[in-house]
């Protein structure tokens, strides 16, 4: 799974940087954008294998980004995992409805666990015959 490209769209600089470092150590190729508009541009340029998308962001929020991505044929098939905080169930639902593949509740996980989840996500993608267990079931704990 090495060299898969992930774009993290997250406005909190520290969270973005820690996540980037940790994912890079696991062999992923990471690019960062710190607001919705920059994120959209970067995604269009780079066509990543996965987008990690924060929801509350300046300029364009995560929902708007998600909507735009999914409405364009060129980006509609790029999987998006929504990054959220606990207690925002409505946000999660809205994100999934807009076409997000899954969600991760940031505040509930050690950063290493998130990497594991992303590795699992790619693992499932590569084995479509495998049981399509939802990340979210374990992300809830």
């Amino acid at each position: 799974m090495a060299n898969q490209k992930i774009i993290i769209v997250e406005d909190d600089e520290i969270l973005a940087r820690v996540l980037k470092e940790e994912l890079e150590e696991s062999g992923f190729n990471i690019d960062l954008a710190s607001d919705g508009e920059a994120g959209l541009k970067l995604i269009a340029d780079q066509r990543p294998d996965l987008v990690l998308l924060d929801l509350l962001m300046p300029k364009k929020n995560g929902f708007q980004v998600l909507e735009e991505l999914k409405s364009k044929p060129v980006s509609a098939d790029i999987p998006v995992i929504v990054l959220t905080m606990l207690g925002h169930d409505e946000d999660i639902k809205k994100g999934l409805k807009l076409g997000a593949s899954d969600y991760i509740v940031k505040s509930q996980h050690a950063v290493a666990e998130i990497v594991e989840k992303i590795q699992n996500f790619f693992g499932q993608e590569q084995h479509p015959e495998a049981k399509p267990a939802r990340l979210s079931d374990s992300a809830q704990k």
Binding site: L19, M85, G87, S107, K141
Partner: protein
Amino acid sequence: MFKWFLKNYILDLEKFKEAVDHTSDHIIFTDPKGTILYANEAASQMTGFLVKEMIGKKAGTTDLWGGQMSKDFYRKMWQTIAVKKKHFTGEIVNRRKNGEKYIAQVHVSPILDGQGNIQFFVGIERDITKMKEIIRLETEFISTASHQLRTPLTGIKWVAERLLKVEKLSPRGQTYLQDIHRSVDRLSSLVDTLLNVSRLDGAKIIIEPKPLEAVAFINDYIKECKPLLAKKKLILNFKHSVRVLACKTDLSAFRNIVQSLLSNAIEYTNPAGQITVSLSTRAGSKKFLLAVKDTGIGIPKAEQAMIFEKFTRGSNAKLMKTDGTGLGLYIARESTKLLGGKIWFASIEGEGSIFYVQLPLQARAKRGEKGLT
């Protein structure tokens, strides 16, 4: 004699009318068809219509302050008061004469004669627009604040994890860092608890039943508790009468219950004590029972009646552990209620407690905002 009686009767009646005229709640009387016979001053103040404008018109229509709700709403209300002849209570959106909308808590009662025929209706309204707004702002504030708190908390947590992983620290340095990490975890769970309570209070909770295998769920939860159990040398047994227990329930509400009962058992049982979690259901039953038993400090008898109330902790619990929110059992009770279940317990101070939660195998979906009662 009769004259004297009549005079007093009329005086009483006048006093009574004065009271109704000047009370702060909006009060109207209508005939059995809903035509307004009487309205007090508060009704006029709340709606902006003069009393004389109201008399003779139909209540609940756009002629006056009503007619803003769905047809279905008015039909159900009429069904309750005129056909079933019962009280109706609900929240209703109305419109003042100047076009401004307001939210009212409304109560309508049919007044029956000896034969059970409707003589007239009494409608009482209280303007709760401001109160609703305050509750909304409060819930929104807590939700925003907790989000704002969580971002830096997550930052501290993740950076501490990176530091432990990437940098070579002395054993003391590592201990300090682990202390930071543990404190952040505690702070995070406090924020979670407070948010949970604010959402329960704001009735914002959405119950969304999803398939869940309860045996595996509890096993997983117990696994998470292993470090704490080991630290206190507590023995935990999990007994389940069935190998798997498939149900449809709301994950967060169910987790709240399991978490609250288990963490209390772990917290308030002395080292080397025992905890037994059991899960059972009978064939053909539509319910299941979760029980958490411990050999802990128990709840003093005099305090048992209040133990589920918000911010309430047992006096012995406070002695054992100074920090605690007194919210765990409140959250467990409210979550149980939301799932349509029952919670109760038996406890002897100094010997232990057993908490029971009976839940339906199929919980019912529920939307946010409090519905009409």
